[in-house]
C-alpha cells in the first residue's frame, strides 16, 4: 500500500514546496549580505564636494551612522530621495552618501536639482570599494553601530514602511550605544 501511495506523497511535497516558493519568490530576489553582523570594511574615499579630503569608514567609529549607496543614473534613487531626507532629519544620526560609479558633474547636478540631504558623500568612481561592501545595486542602505559593525542592510528604495523600520532600528542601536 505504501508503495502505491509513495508517488502521491512525493508529489504532495513537491506541490507544497512550489506553493511556498511562489510566496517567497519576491524576497528571494534579494540576496542577503554576508557582511551583516561583521565590521564594515575599512576603505578611504574622496569626498564629492571636497575632492581633496579623503574620508575613511573608520572615521565614524564610536557612533551609529547610515551609509546610503546612490548614483545619479539610478532611477529608484530618485524615488527614495525624499525618504533619505526624512531619514537624515528624523534619525538624528549622520547619513553618509556613497556615490557609486557616477560622473562627478552628473552627481553634483543631480544633488543641486533634488537637494543634498546627506552629511557628505564618499565617491567610489571605480566601484572597487563597492565590491568590498558587497554592493550589487543602487540604492542600498547600511546601518552601522558605534563599534563599526554593519547591523542591517536594506536593498532597494526606501519607502514609508522601510523608513519606519530603519528609524526603529536606529533608535535601538542608539540605545545600545548609550547603555
Amino acid at each position: 500500500m505504501i508503495r502505491l501511495l509513495l508517488p502521491l506523497i512525493v508529489f504532495g511535497g513537491l506541490v507544497g514546496l512550489l506553493l511556498i516558493g511562489m510566496q517567497t519568490a519576491e524576497e528571494r530576489k534579494i540576496v542577503a549580505s554576508p557582511l551583516v553582523g561583521r565590521p564594515i570594511p575599512n576603505f578611504e574615499l574622496p569626498r564629492l564636494h571636497e575632492p581633496n579630503i579623503s574620508t575613511s569608514t573608520a572615521d565614524r567609529l564610536g557612533e551609529v551612522w547610515v551609509l546610503n549607496v546612490w548614483g545619479s543614473w539610478c532611477q529608484s534613487c530618485r524615488i527614495e530621495h525624499p525618504y533619505v531626507g526624512r531619514l537624515a532629519e528624523e534619525s538624528g544620526v549622520p547619513v553618509v552618501g556613497f556615490n557609486w560609479k557616477d560622473e562627478q558633474a552628473d552627481a553634483k547636478r543631480w544633488l543641486s536639482q533634488f537637494g543634498d540631504v546627506w552629511a557628505y558623500h564618499m565617491v567610489d568612481f571605480e566601484g572597487r570599494s563597492a565590491i568590498d561592501l558587497g554592493v550589487y545595486g543602487a540604492p542600498e542602505t547600511f546601518l552601522i553601530d558605534q563599534r563599526g559593525i554593519i547591523r542591517h542592510k536594506h536593498i532597494g528604495p526606501i519607502d514609508e514602511s522601510v523608513l519606519r523600520d530603519l528609524l526603529a532600528r536606529i533608535d535601538r542601536l542608539k540605545q545600545e550605544a548609550s547603555s
Binding site: 502505491l4 508517488p7 513537491l14 506541490v15 512550489l18 516558493g21 517567497t24 519568490a25
Partner: protein, 654 residues
Amino acid sequence: MIAELGQVFLSLALILALVLSTVPLYGAYKNRPALMAMAHTLVIGHFVFALAAYTALSIAFFNHDFTVTYVATNSNLLLPWYYRLSAVWGGHEGSLLLWILMLAGWMLLVSLLSRSLPRAFIARVLAVMGMISVGFLLFTLLTSNPFDRLIPGPLDGQDLNPLLQDPGMIFHPPLLYMGYVGFAVAFGFAIAGLLGGRVESQWVKWSRPWTLMAWAFLTVGIALGSWWAYYELGWGGWWFWDPVENASFIPWLIGTALIHSQAVTEKRGAFPAWTVLLAIAAFSMSLLGTFLVRSGVLTSVHAFANDPERGMFILGFMIVVTGGALVLYALRAPRIMTGKGFDFMSRETLLLLNNVFFAVSAAMVLLGTLYPLIIDMMGWGQISVGPPYFGAMFVLLMTPIVVLMPLGPFSRWGKDQLLRVVYPLLGSLALSLVAALIIVALLDAWSARAITGWMGGLWLILGSLHYLFDRKKTSRFGLPRHQLGMIMAHAGVGVFIIGVAMVESATYERDVRLTPSESVSIAGYEFTLQEVVSVKGQNWIADEARFAITKDGELVQEMAPQKRLYHRSGQTMTQVALRPGVFKDLYIAMGEELDAQSNAWSIRIHIKPFIRWIWGGALLLALGATLAATDRRYRLKQKQSASDGLSTSAASIT
C-alpha cells in the same frame, strides 16, 4: 472583429472539450456505444475550433491589428511577415494557444489512427485528453487571453523580442510543445488503462509509437533550443543548465526511461505499474516545466514575463491532473506481480538499470533546480546551483549507462549469460579504445575528457553498428524498423558524447581588440578584420565587421558578424557569424566599439570542434525514435487492408 471571432472559437472549443471529457467517459462506464463514439466527432470539432482560433490570431498579426493587446506587444509595422506569423507564439498567451492547437492535433491523430482499438478504451483516452484541454482552455480564457482588446489601439506595436527574430526560434517552440503535449497521449493511454480496471497490458503496446513520437519531438525541440542559444546569444555555449532548460530536460529524461520500460511491459508483461507511473510523471513534468517557466518561482535568463496568478493556476491544474492520476494509481495500479520472470543477466535487468539511472538523473536535475527553494524554506540562506553541479552529477550518473548500453540489444529476454553477451562485443570494445587514442593523437586534443569521450562515444557507435551487421547476417530481410531505430538512437548518443567531450575540452576562445586591417591568429587560422561598415535591415541597423579568414595563406571564408540595433525597441543584439563544419565551427561575435577614432572593436573568436555532433547526435536520436514509431508492428490492423500481408512475418522476427 477577428479577435472576437477568435474568442468565440476558443469558447466553442472549451464547450466541446467539456462534453468530450464527460460524455464518452460516461458512455464507457455504462457501455453505451453511441456515447463513446461521440468522442471522435467531438475531437474533430475541438480541433477545428482550436485551429480557427489560432488562425484568427495569426490573421490579427498578419494584418497588424494593434487593437489586440497581444499583437501590439509582440509585433510592429516593420516586422517581416514570417516573423509576424511566428510571433503568434512569441509571448505567453499565444504560445498557450499553440499548446492547445497541438493538443487538439494529437487528439485528432489518436482518434483517426486508433479506430480499431476497443471502443471503451479509446473513448477514455480521448476523454482524459479532453480534460487536459479543458484545463488549458480555461487557463487561456481566464488568465491569458490572447484576444484581449486594447482600445484605442496604438498606431504601431512594440516589438517581438529581437532574440526571437530568428529562424531557429520559428521552429524551436512548436517542436518543444509537440513533445510536451505529446506526452499527454502517453498519459491518456495510461489513465485509460487504469480506468479500464483490469490491467490492460495491451495499452502499453498501443501507446508505444505515440510515446516515441512525442519523445522524438521533444528531443529535436531541445536540440533546436540549444543550437539557437549557441548562435543567438553570442556566448558560444550550447547548454547552460538554466531552470528553463532543465524544465524541458526533466520530461526528456523521464520520457527516455518510459520508452525503455514500455518495452519490458509490452514484451514481458513486467513492471506495468512502474510504466504507468512513468507515463504520469513524464506529462506531469511537462506541466511542471510550464509552471517553472511562467510562474516566476525561479530566476532564469529566458523566462516569460512572470505572473504569480498564472503560476497559481498551473499549479492548481497540476494538482488536479497529477494528483488525480496518482490517486487513481494508488487505487487501481496492479498490486500483484505480473509478467514473466527473469534472471540477473537478462535484457530485463539491463532495461531496469536504464530506468534506475534515468529516473535518478531526472530526480537529480529536479533537486538541483529546486534546491534554492528548499534551502530558502529551511532558512539556510541562499545558494546557486549551476553547471558545475549538474555537469558533475550528470556525468557520474550517465557513465554506467554508456558502458552498458551496447549490451542491451545483444542480450536475451529472460535469461542470458554475461559472457555470451559480452564476448561478441569484445572486438568493438578493443577497437573503440584503440581508435579513441589514435583519434585523440591525430587531433592533438590530449585531455582526460577528450579521451574518455571518444572511448565512450566510439563504444556506443561501434557496439551499435556491430549489432546491425550481426543481425544483417542472420536475417534475410534485414532489421525491422524498430530495431534499426534503436541502433540509430544508441549510435546517436555516441555521436552526441563525442561532440560534448570535444567542445568541452578543446574549444579555443579568445577575446581580442581589433582595428580594421589588423589580424589575429588562432589555432592555425588567421582572422583579419577588413572593415567595419554600417548595414540596414528591414527593422534594424547594424555595425558589421567584415572578416577574411585564411589558413596557410589561403582564403577559407569571409565572415561578417553584426551588432544590431532594433528600431522599435531600441534593443541591441549581437548577430554572430558562423562557419559551420563537421569537425569545427569558426565563430565570431562582435562586442563593443572600444575606440571610435581608430575604429577598434572588441571581438570574440571561438573555434568549436565537433559542436555539430551534439545536435547531429540529437537528430539521430529523434530519427531513430521516429523510425521505431513507424514500425509495422505498431500499425493497428485496418479491416480489409491489402497492405497487411507482410506484417505477420515482420512481427514474428521480434
